[in-house]
Amino acid sequence: MTILTDLKNILGEEKVFNDDENIEKYSSDQSFVQPRKPDLIAFAENVKDVQEVVKYANKTNTPVVPFSSGLNFHGGTIPKEGGIVLDLSRMKSIQVDDNNWHCVIEPGVTVSQLQDELEKHNLRAMLSFGVHPDRSALTSYAERDPAVAAASFEYGNELIMDTELVLPGGDLYRTGLWSAGGIPGSPMGPVRAMIYRMWTGAQGTLGIFTKMNIKVEYLPKKRKVFLLQFDSFPEAMEPLRMIQRKEIGHECFLINNFNAASLLCKKWKVPEQFPAEKAEAGEFDALREKLPPWLLVLCSNGGPRMPEGKIKYEEEALQEIFSMAHLRTCDDGPIEDMFLKEMLRPWGILKKFCYSGSVHDISFKTTLKRVPEFQKIVMEVINEHNYPLRDIGMYILPIERGRAVHCEIDFHCNPRSKDEVEQVKNLWHVVSERFIDEGAFFDRPYGIWADMVFARAGTYTQKLKELKRELDPNNILNPGHLCF
């Protein structure tokens, strides 16, 4: 008997594949993580399938790599030790709870499907800027992709309610209200209040989520976008702090002219595959020249009732800051409209892949005050590596009214040019290392970042390893990732 035969017996012929085309497809992504082929691909259609595969894997010591959409961009689903790629994309159920503003999703539900479904109920999901429309919504939440409304303490954070998962031994486990076997409807429990968080940011190494109940919010009837322009990031820091301290708006972020031009470029489309095809850049170049170096984007959402009233008092509070800090607005109707669309369907920024074909980001958390330090490091390293400053994309997202900021710094290269790839890979590696040395916090340490981060995390790393040994003694769930 082979694994292939065994799994076909367990799941059915139509759910297991090991043909070259499929094996190739699941062996790599656009990241710098070394490609590795799985032994086979198994499709789960329900939680029982997942349990059966995990139990079988334990019996045979076969690695299992959970896979939902593969649009992680950081090598999270590359089977480092081969084994079974367990594709969950056929699990596509969505159940909306209109009364309590929750929604239960399975791993195969994409973010665009989720948003489409919620819109029918006058609701919205809080999504991450730059998330691919075909990315698994569940994975996006599980991997703590920061919502574009992360500045809002209440609406943009802690979006997971109840969860259902398969533990490394194959047992079913639920968290939240759901864990007693009834309805979902609270994130607390069982036994400890926030236990579900242990499985977030875990890249499927400690369990496989099969369902998740997420918070959803009202679909605003009225919204207004405000744009502020700055010549440099430090100029924007104090206005940003003032705006956030006043708790104005839900969505708020800063992008540089590279990213703004990508968003506005009408000739470019959001790619479906990665790496993408390099596209003609004439329109993009013109936009990049025309746009201010930095844009602060703020969106005020009218409430479900009397929406104008809320926007009005927020706008007045904002105007006070504008006049106090002598700020320059960027009044441009089409740009404002484009950003309004992006708040709900925030994937237009992925058009940036059209510039060179692949994008290698460095995403981390720090404090607002320290962002210029990391900018300085980037400047130093790109000078050493002859990488043009103008080809860097930057996105800065305040979290919880500016307590923290999420930073994404992009480097672009043509995947067909070995020299370019090598240059950017070296650059990306050096910048990552310098950042971590200087205290950039990689809360989601993918790929090579994992070794750099966990080597510095002392007891935290030690306890994670002990937990992994206790929960997954055969080390079958996504081995080789994180510190496992």
């Binding site: 709870d97 309590n100 503003w101 929750h102 303490f153 209440e154 802690e158 047992d171 079913l172 939240g176 209200l177 864990s179 007693a180 009834g182 607390m188 429990g189 069982p190 036994v191 400890r192 209040a193 579900y196 968080r197 977030t200 940011g201 190494t205 400690l206 918070k215 006043k246 708790e247 104005i248 409430g303 479900p304 009233g309 008092y313 927020e314 404090t367 607002l368 005050k369 500016g402 307590r403 205290g439 950039a440 916090f441 809360d443 989601r444 340490p445 994992a450 981060v453 966990f454 510095r456 995390a457 002392g458 007891t459 935290y460 306890k463 994670l464 206790e470 929960l471 994180l482 510190c483």
Partner: protein, 568 residues
């Protein structure tokens, strides 16, 4: 009640252990005198401790109390406990669990010397605290800087934020700010094996203390609500938010005790809420309308707090217990109600806008505002909430009897109806201990709308006489019955939404399912020598086998009453 007269003999630690501890903390900070350890045996509001005390159970007394002054000292003490296999119990104010959890001589580690605010970071809106810092201390400093932590539990000056990491953390302003769980940036813990764990961005050198998750799987999430079984928080960093109220809130020194005959109205009745805040009381004809209104308000995006209070208003706003009972009998306070706290966080015009939305909702659902023209005497009586909706400046003031057994289930707001139904069923089955027990059966349970109403927490309680152990035992019966009712009726995976304790973890394997097996693995990783309040949150297989059959039978009886099979 046991009538057997017996002398309670205090157990002592082996001399070498005592000596080792003394060397760490210093002779003046370690106590085994009977007069001192007695203090640590009865402060709890957990009924079981009182019953043990009444029954002269010798295991109620700790062997020794030590007061460390730093993380290093805590670490050294915990390592000694591991070396000599001495169980320890962390202790701050003793309001919940403080007694020894095993029959072995037990060490209490009391943190009253670790009472400093280490730093307030105004730029990144967070504060780092030692374990004995309470809400009052933190707010006094933060509010001067235009910041606050987002909420206050009932006992402002008693509750320490670090101990709430191990236990609850429920505020009246949870609608906007969420439970305490949503407001922790990081913890520094001495783990049960003596290792020091820091979480979030703080665990990476040079990163700073500002971000709560990771790296990778989130251990802070795992550690929260461990009731002292998974380590000792020696530093906690909490989030701060913009504060627009007065720079300080009047405090009554030492609060006011819950005595039967205290009547001192000078401490009550602030005329209006704090600066930039407004409090509205709404009354409804029935429970259904109340819930409809609360759902609409929560979803409208207004307000920083939205709650409903039944019996709490009676004993909270009355100056004597007699007054509490009279008001309960007369149904003085609205049975179906909610109160809404508005604040001008963004603009001076925010309250005006939010009041407009609130009035629209109340008008739509058919509710009424308490006002100078409608039930002014009730509004007058509710004045203590004017400050206390933000912070309980009057301290731990409850004109009721002892507080033993609380049902704290959680879920969508409709679950309030199930909570009420099941509480009423319990009252019908077991009988009430006091008229105040009817709160939640004949009027609304206390309802906290959490995180913009995505879920709610419901509270109903028993108030037995602490001098009567049979009453306390009866209240415990409500608790055990409640654990079964909660699991059976989808009111939560556990009786207290924040956490679980034994024997409920093992005896309700429906939760998870089999959370007890999962938690045993976690316990093994963090407490390999079983020294941190052993058996409090989850039993080992051996502890479970040794657990008294009589108690197992009682729990199984309550399971049976809820049509659930017995657990062997």
């Amino acid at each position: 009640m046991s009538t057997k007269k017996q002398k309670v003999i205090q157990k002592k630690l082996p001399r070498e252990v005592y000596s080792a501890l003394k060397n760490v903390a210093g002779e003046q900070w370690i106590y085994e005198q009977r007069s001192v350890v007695e203090t640590y045996s009865k402060l709890s509001i957990e009924g079981g401790s009182f019953v043990k005390k009444h029954e002269k159970d010798p295991h109620v007394l700790p062997a020794c109390v030590v007061l460390p002054a730093s993380t290093n000292e805590v670490q050294a003490i915990v390592k000694i406990c591991n070396r000599y296999h001495v169980p320890f119990v962390p202790f701050t104010n003793g309001q919940v669990f403080c007694n020894p959890t095993t029959q072995d001589p037990t060490l209490i580690i009391h943190f009253s010397r670790m009472n400093k605010i280490i730093r307030i970071d105004t730029q990144n809106m967070c504060a780092t605290l030692e374990p004995y810092v309470d809400y009052g201390m933190l707010q006094a400093e933060a509010m001067k800087r235009g910041l606050w932590n987002g909420g206050t539990p009932l006992a402002t000056t008693l509750c320490k934020l670090a101990s709430q990491f191990a236990f609850a953390g429920l505020w009246q302003t949870d609608l906007k700010y969420g439970l305490f769980s949503r407001n922790i940036v990081s913890v520094k813990m001495v783990l049960p094996d003596g290792e020091i764990l820091t979480t979030g961005s703080r665990c990476i050198p040079k990163a700073g203390d500002f971000f709560e998750y990771g790296p990778g799987p989130d251990l802070m999430g795992l550690q929260r609500a461990g009731v002292g079984t998974n380590g000792i928080v020696t530093e906690i960093t909490v989030k701060l938010h913009s504060w627009v109220g007065d720079e300080s809130i009047p405090d009554i020194s030492a609060g006011r005790p819950s005595l039967v005959d205290v009547h001192d109205p000078k401490y009550d009745n602030p005329d209006k809420p704090l600066k930039n805040h407004k409090l509205f009381w709404c009354e409804f004809d029935d429970f259904e309308t109340q819930i409809k209104a609360m759902r609409e308000i929560a979803h409208s995006g207004i307000a920083i707090g939205l709650n409903a209070t039944g019996v709490y208003s009676a004993f909270y706003c009355s100056q004597t217990q007699a007054m509490t009972i009279k008001r309960c009998e007369e149904k003085f306070f609205p049975e179906w109600n909610c109160y809404v706290i508005l604040a001008n966080v963004t603009s001076d015009k925010q309250i005006e806008y939010e009041e407009g939305v609130l009035r629209q909702i109340i008008d739509e659902v058919g509710g009424r505002f308490l006002s100078e023209s409608y039930k002014p005497e009730v509004l007058e009586a509710l004045k203590p909430w004017n400050y206390d909706c933000i912070r309980h400046s009057t301290g731990y003031r409850m004109n009721r009897k002892f507080y033993a057994n609380a049902w704290l289930p959680v879920g969508p707001i409709d679950s309030a109806v199930t909570t009420q139904r099941e509480w009423k069923k319990a009252l019908d089955t077991f009988g009430e201990l006091d008229i105040t027990d009817r709160g939640g059966a004949e009027d609304t349970p206390f309802i906290y709308a959490l995180q913009r109403g995505h879920f709610c927490l419901f509270e109903t309680d028993n108030y037995p006489d602490p001098t009567l152990p049979d009453e306390i035992k009866k209240a415990q019966g409500f608790g055990i019955y409640g654990a079964a009712a909660v699991v059976k009726n989808s009111l939560g995976p556990m009786l207290m939404a924040f956490l679980n304790v034994e024997p409920f973890t093992t005896m309700f394997p429906e939760a998870g399912p089999d959370s007890h097996l999962f938690m045993r693995k976690i316990r093994k990783v963090f407490d390999p020598n079983s020294v941190a309040a052993p058996g409090r949150q989850v039993f080992t297989e051996q502890e479970w086998q040794q657990f008294p059959e009589a108690v197992k039978n009682i729990v199984n009886k309550m399971r049976e009453m809820n049509d659930m099979p017995a657990v062997e």
